[in-house]
């Protein structure tokens, strides 16, 4: 099985750059002013409460939605350009897939669009996620976890320089989750920059090199995990998250309700 390919030296330009991103829907700001960078061989975790703007940020970065203003770059190229799209892979969380294709047809289609002729990497990923038996079935018959595995496989076919993942572990069985962790480690070692939006704080604390906390459309805290723990004078990322996103006061109010239960 082949997963790696030699890569030339790491560059100075960040792999992903989000600069003063703003996105509003009919006058309501979903994202106000978010800026961060993801470097070579780094895992950057984006955490925040529901509706804080994580997915909007990722969708703007991969060109599914148009930002109202701001600068989005992949390896120095504007994110909406063809060159940029050749350099990143994207694993969505809740976007529909073309469900009337079989898994095999879907992967063949993605390979054709990226111009990938070598099937070695695809075969390796198929074996890792145990997709071989399911490839001839239509995607609409897949479970959520199977779809996620297929999307992860598709996102890695073309040796991306940046990998953008929206809730990568949601829906995966323990075996697939272990495989994905190993895969992310290999990709990090290869120099791929990884941006992951997640709700899983323990996973973020353990695997992310740096973390950005989004709340109400703003990036309210950013830094390496030890740095954030030190700044908020705690040993738990949960507390950092609650305090940075302003949820701690709300939590203490909720305790009263828990008492009624």
């Amino acid at each position: 099985m082949r997963l790696g390919r030699p890569r030339s030296g790491r560059g100075v330009t960040p792999v992903l750059r989000v600069g003063h991103l703003r996105k509003s829907y009919r006058g309501v700001d979903a994202v106000r002013d978010i800026s961060f960078e993801v470097r070579d061989g780094e895992i950057y975790g984006l955490i925040g409460p529901n509706g804080s703007g994580k997915s909007t940020t990722l969708h703007a970065l991969v060109d599914i939605i148009q930002p109202t203003s701001g600068c989005l770059e992949v390896c120095g190229h504007r994110a909406s350009t063809i060159r940029a799209k050749q350099l990143f892979g994207f694993v969505p969380d809740d976007l529909d897939m073309p469900e009337t294709l079989s898994g095999g047809e879907f992967l063949a289609f993605i390979r054709r669009l990226y111009g990938v002729t070598d099937t070695g990497r695809m075969d390796a990923l198929i074996e890792i996620f145990g997709l071989r038996e399911a490839l001839h079935r239509l995607i609409e018959e897949y479970s959520h976890g199977m779809k996620k595995k297929l999307q992860i496989t598709a996102s890695l076919l073309h040796y991306p320089r940046a990998l953008i993942l929206d809730e990568p572990f949601r829906g995966l069985d323990p075996e697939a989750a272990i495989s994905l962790k190993r895969l992310l480690s290999i990709e990090r070692a290869r120099g791929t920059g990884l941006l992951a939006a997640t709700h899983d704080l323990s996973m973020a604390q353990r695997y992310c090199d740096r973390i950005g906390i989004i709340s109400g459309g703003d990036l309210v805290a950013e830094g390496a995990v030890p740095e954030l723990l030190g700044r908020f004078d705690t040993d738990s990322l949960e507390e950092v998250f609650l305090r940075a996103s302003g949820l701690l006061d709300k939590r203490s109010g909720l305790e009263e309700h828990f008492g009624h239960l």
């Binding site: 829907y25 009919r26 991969v62 060109d63 599914i64 939605i65 148009q66 063809i82 060159r83 799209k85 050749q86 994207f90 969505p92 976007l95 529909d96 897939m97 073309p98 469900e99 009337t100 294709l101 079989s102 047809e105 289609f109 993605i110 054709r112 669009l113 990226y114 111009g115 239509l138 609409e140 018959e141």
Partner: protein, 504 residues
């Protein structure tokens, strides 16, 4: 071109997968499809032999008449093509799973648009060929053509067909781009207006051609839609031309189509990136109840109203009808004398909205998770919502046509209501059995086309049935028929649930 062909082939593949999934392993359905195809072929054969051939072959001997008729037919082909394209383009959802996927892939907007259009061009060309070939064959059957002449005519017609398909698409795309990019108009409004511009330009050319043709003096106007007549005349009339005429004409025909295709490609570069349309504010305030039927019913009506293909097509029907009423009033055209059974035509058009309701909310019906109720409640709500939506649209069209026709009074609406509701139920039944998916561009258009093909004989059979029943028994007959159709819908849904469950 690699990306364009990859997108086209994946769209075609999804259609074939859907068809295979619908028919695969169900011999009854396969047999039914085969039977329908056979009936269509036999019907086409007899229609050609008994009606089309006697009508058109009588002109074969007169070369001028053939040329004039040919010119009018070529213009008429453009009208048919624009109508077919309108249906496909309006029925195609504005945002599909494929759009989302492709927006993250290294694919240019023009490659995506051309990838979508290529299968559309092929399907439109094939459908128009099937529709018009009996007429052209009848017209030229006795024209004493050599094999070369026949091949030349076939080439001329094929290049004309390609020309009008690509030309209509170019008109549509230019209008759409102007509206969305220059005027920053709403996506749905722009699609509707662009479709109307395309249909109106074809209809206007046809009307002008008809007006300026003088059969008695054998004078046919020359315009961009019948330039191929000049090519074909060479074969039909004398066959003697300079040696370079045929290659030059052939090169011209091919070059024009290619140039138009390149133009289409360039314009599609400008097509704006699509975004998920925002939910209209007034729809958010529609009432929701606590009880299963009212919750599902209001949700179904809401879905029917805000479904893009429904409101686009409804607006298209209303605007087209308004245009027809206005032009016939201005031109003093007696609609009642030339178009009988207007109420039935209205009901047939409106019932076409019923076919897609089953597939529209079935796979991801969030209410099923948050408000679990019996499946029969959901089905009843769906039928009620269909009848309300189609009935309301029909009532609106009755009002529009009442300005030009005496057939569309309030009394005639009430008289035709049972027929219309039966037709709505019939098309809903077809929608339960037939495949339907919003996941790919034009998939629902195919479903609608199939619905229309089924709806035509269905409305005829229903009309005949209701006309032979004595007046005093009409009410009971309608109720019985409605009960039978509702029972069939229930059985079909049960059967589909079992089959889908075992397949998944």
């Amino acid at each position: 071109m690699r990306n364009t062909s990859a997108i086209s082939s994946v769209i075609v593949r999804s259609w074939s997968n859907q068809a295979a999934r619908a028919v695969g392993g169900r011999s009854v359905l396969a047999l039914l499809c085969g039977l329908l195809a056979l009936v269509a072929v036999v019907f086409g054969y007899f229609a050609t032999r008994e009606f089309i051939y006697p009508t058109f072959s009588s002109f074969s001997a007169n070369e001028s008449a053939v040329a004039i008729l040919m010119g009018l037919l070529l213009t008429n082909v453009s009208v048919a093509v624009s109508m077919l394209l309108s249906g496909f383009l309006i029925l195609s959802p504005s945002q599909t799973a494929l759009d989302n996927l492709l927006s993250t892939m290294p694919v240019r907007p023009n490659q995506r648009v051309m990838g979508y259009y290529l299968p559309l061009v092929i399907v439109t060309v094939l459908t128009t060929t099937v529709l018009f070939s009996p007429v052209f064959v009848s017209l030229l059957y006795d024209a004493n053509l050599s094999l070369f002449g026949a091949l030349w005519v076939a080439f001329g017609l094929a290049s004309h067909l390609l020309y009008v398909v690509v030309l209509n698409l170019a008109v549509y795309l230019i209008s759409l781009t102007l509206l969305t990019r220059t005027l920053a108009a709403d996506q749905s409004f722009s699609r509707l207006t662009a479709t109307l511009v395309m249909s109106a330009s074809s209809l206007a050319t046809f009307a002008i051609a008809l007006w300026r043709t003088d059969f008695f003096r054998a004078v046919a106007p020359t315009h961009h839609l019948n330039v191929h007549v000049v090519m074909l005349r060479g074969v039909i009339e004398d066959g003697v031309r300079p040696p370079l005429f045929y290659p030059a004409a052939a090169v011209c025909a091919v070059a024009v189509v290619l140039l138009l295709w390149v133009l289409l490609n360039r314009i599609s570069l400008l097509s704006a990136p699509l975004e998920r349309p925002a939910k209209p504010r007034w729809l958010e305030s529609l009432p929701f109840g606590r009880h299963g039927l009212s919750v599902y019913g209001s949700q179904e009506i809401k879905q029917a109203v805000r479904h893009p293909e429904n409101y686009l097509f409804a607006a298209f029907f209303v605007l087209l009808s308004s245009g027809l009423v206005l032009s016939s009033s201005l031109a003093g055209f007696d609609l009642d004398r030339h178009v009988p059974e207007v109420p039935l035509i209205i009901w047939f058009s409106c019932s076409l909205f019923a076919h897609n309701s089953y597939g529209r909310t079935l796979p991801a019906h969030w209410l099923v998770q948050v408000a679990p109720r019996r499946r029969s409640v959901w089905l009843v709500a769906k039928l009620a919502a269909n009848c309300v939506y189609c009935g309301a649209l029909a009532a609106l069209l009755f009002v529009v046509y009442s300005f030009a026709s005496d057939q569309t009074t309030a009394a005639s609406f009430l008289r035709s209501l049972p027929f219309g509701l039966l037709l709505v139920l019939g098309l809903t039944l077809a929608g339960v059995v037939l495949p339907y998916s919003e996941r790919y561009p034009f998939s629902s258009a195919f479903s609608a086309l199939f619905g229309a093909i089924l709806g035509l004989p269905l409305s005829y059979v229903l009309g005949r049935l209701l006309s032979i029943v004595p007046g005093e028994l009409a009410g009971a007959a309608v109720l019985t028929l409605a009960a039978v159709v509702v029972l069939l819908i229930y059985c079909a849904d049960r059967w589909k649930t079992i089959v889908d469950g075992s397949g998944g």
